[in-house]
Symmetry: C2
Subunit: 367 residues, 2 copies
């Protein structure tokens, strides 16, 4: 008997039809053909998805647990997603709610290579919450973005990330941006200032991203950001494997709102693929995630799971310094707070506004 | 003035709030920060997304047209998707309905390298609808799948594709499958039978897929299948560029049901990325796409657009020979009909059942 994945789907369906519907999903996510026409014993016994349990969660919404043979995935991150939700993503009335991944696959994918403790160590902050700010807006030349980075660093920000819209555009090519931003942060540090870590955003295909990581590493940068749902899980895993000294921040672009539950997609799967930190829209900001979703997402990122390192939750998306206390009460200290627009709005007073954010985080005491 | 993308969103919103909501989407999809805090003239004039029109489509559903500078994309397929829907995909109440792509970007991405005419020429069928069948179920060894392929070929199927669940699993590794299936089809052809074209499914990361295409080409295979939403647009574009002799079939796994309208996602964007044929769930089968959605999708795949070659629509997902006439009435002859499970159900009589499907397509006369 080989290991099996357990996938949990939420299915909108009437009670009379749910058993048939559950079997149809199990077939769709495995052999994709009438089971009656399968004569091979191994395929019938092992490969056909099995409906393990069905439970009504609310009126006409059922939790269906289906197990799938781990052999169907091999060790391919793309095929992993394909087996969990490939064709069923085409059904509007099914949500992929959770997955239990067998030990073999957890070990094969490996999760964060650095994680919470390493990201804290890198900035000399062993216990408190971490801080981050983004370089924006896109359209500025590299030199202007470097000035913004210096201001954030002067104010004591731990991690300075590219806005996820920064790619390799003509107005601020990746190579020029690395040189300008990493150079600006280095000269600040050499002048006795506090070092801040730059997290540039990767774009393009696997080869382009490899070259970008090479440029970043040459400039002394040891973390990058990637959007797993744009780059592809397989691209991300390959980069994580090939660059063990680099930390990876995952961005939720194209991760959707609801069809794969955000705690699973961003908290659990991005972490499994190797994300050391996961950025997500905090409740009460520009996006519609609920407080409950955000709490579950942060827990999934940090939870003990098969020996994986904890991944840092990074709530973001319209946050303000006013909310720091409430956010730290909510998430606890194992978090990185990311504030962007609200600081940039301060204009000339960017350093002061950012310093206030940093002071609020550093000065926080629970209770 | 540089070229601009026009993105059309459908937004669920009350009439009082729609103007503000539209502006928020335009900002989210471009500079992602308060516009009041942007001092740079170029960024304000060109880079900030512009709300071009707002029109109420039905009660509390608005069509919002937003233009974005093409410079924000560069020539990066991943960044293209990111600019169109990256963060806005996180909002449950917004659908990306359509996109008008400027000529420069259409030329940069290039669309199908082969398209409808070439796929017809390859199988000597200059005018009629094409036929296809899938190798399944996964779990069978390569030799058994090769027998199924021979049966389909004997019955006169044009294109024989891997089931999208076939990856590089231990029970049927990609290399063994290529050797067995391509070998079986070749020996049939050498024995005087009709040649059928094999379309193996790619999996893994860019390097793995490159190696798979190499193995396929060595075995005389000239078409492959890829799932663009799993592999990533950038991975697909790179492969299309690097392998001009290979035709690409796109599979809709992970393409979702509704948040990006299927005619846009599968018909227009997959084609733009280089798909020569696009597989999608036909109405009235196992999936919920409407007839109207399917018609719009097929039209988008075939429509004149900036000189792109027409891409073959491949309706599938629970089709039967009974429906051939109705499907050809509906789609016309510029289509490839894909039937799988309904033929495999015939068991021992697979060749006969498949021959009936092929005869129905070949014998079809409109009217």
């Amino acid at each position: 008997m080989s290991a099996r994945l357990q996938a949990i789907y939420l299915v909108r369906c009437d009670a009379r039809s749910i058993e048939e519907r559950a079997r149809a999903i199990a077939v769709e996510q495995s052999v994709e053909m009438p089971v009656s026409a399968i004569t091979d014993d191994f395929v019938r016994a092992e490969i056909v998805g099995r409906v393990e349990t069905i439970a009504e969660k609310e009126s006409n919404v059922f939790e269906v647990r289906i197990s799938l043979a781990a052999e169907t995935v091999g060790r391919d991150p793309g095929q992993f997603l394909n087996m969990l939700f490939g064709n069923t993503s085409l059904h509007e009335d099914v949500v992929l709610a959770d997955v239990t991944v067998p030990k073999e696959l957890i070990e094969a994918f490996g999760g964060p290579r650095h994680g919470l403790d390493a990201l804290r160590r890198r900035v000399g902050a062993p216990a408190r919450a971490l801080t981050a700010s983004p370089l924006k807006p896109q359209g500025l030349p590299a030199a202007r973005l470097a000035q913004v980075a210096q201001d954030f660093a002067r104010a004591g920000i731990d991690y300075i990330k590219d806005d996820h819209g920064l790619a390799d555009q003509s107005y601020s090519p990746f190579a020029a941006r690395i040189e300008a931003v990493a150079g600006a942060l280095r000269s600040l540090e050499q002048a006795g200032g506090r070092g801040a870590r730059y997290v540039p955003s990767l774009s393009g295909d696997l080869d382009t991203m490899r070259a970008q990581i090479g440029l970043a590493a040459d400039a002394g940068v040891d973390a990058v950001m990637i959007a797993p749902m744009i780059a592809g899980f397989a691209t991300m895993q390959r980069l994580v494997r090939e660059h063990p000294a680099i930390a990876f921040f995952a961005h939720p672009a194209m991760a959707g709102a609801a069809r794969i539950a955000p705690p699973l997609m961003i908290g659990k799967l991005f972490r499994l693929m190797g994300a050391d930190a996961v950025i997500f829209p905090n409740h009460g900001g520009r996006f519609g995630y609920s407080a409950e979703t955000c709490r579950a997402l942060a827990r999934a990122a940090l939870a003990e799971e098969g020996g994986l390192r904890p991944c840092v939750p990074v709530p973001a998306g319209g946050m303000t310094t006013d909310r720091v206390r409430e956010m730290l009460d909510f998430y606890g200290p194992d978090v990185m707070l990311l504030i962007g627009g609200a600081l940039l709005e301060a204009g000339e007073r960017l350093v002061a506004a950012t310093s206030a954010f940093v002071a609020e985080v550093h000065g926080y005491r629970r209770g």
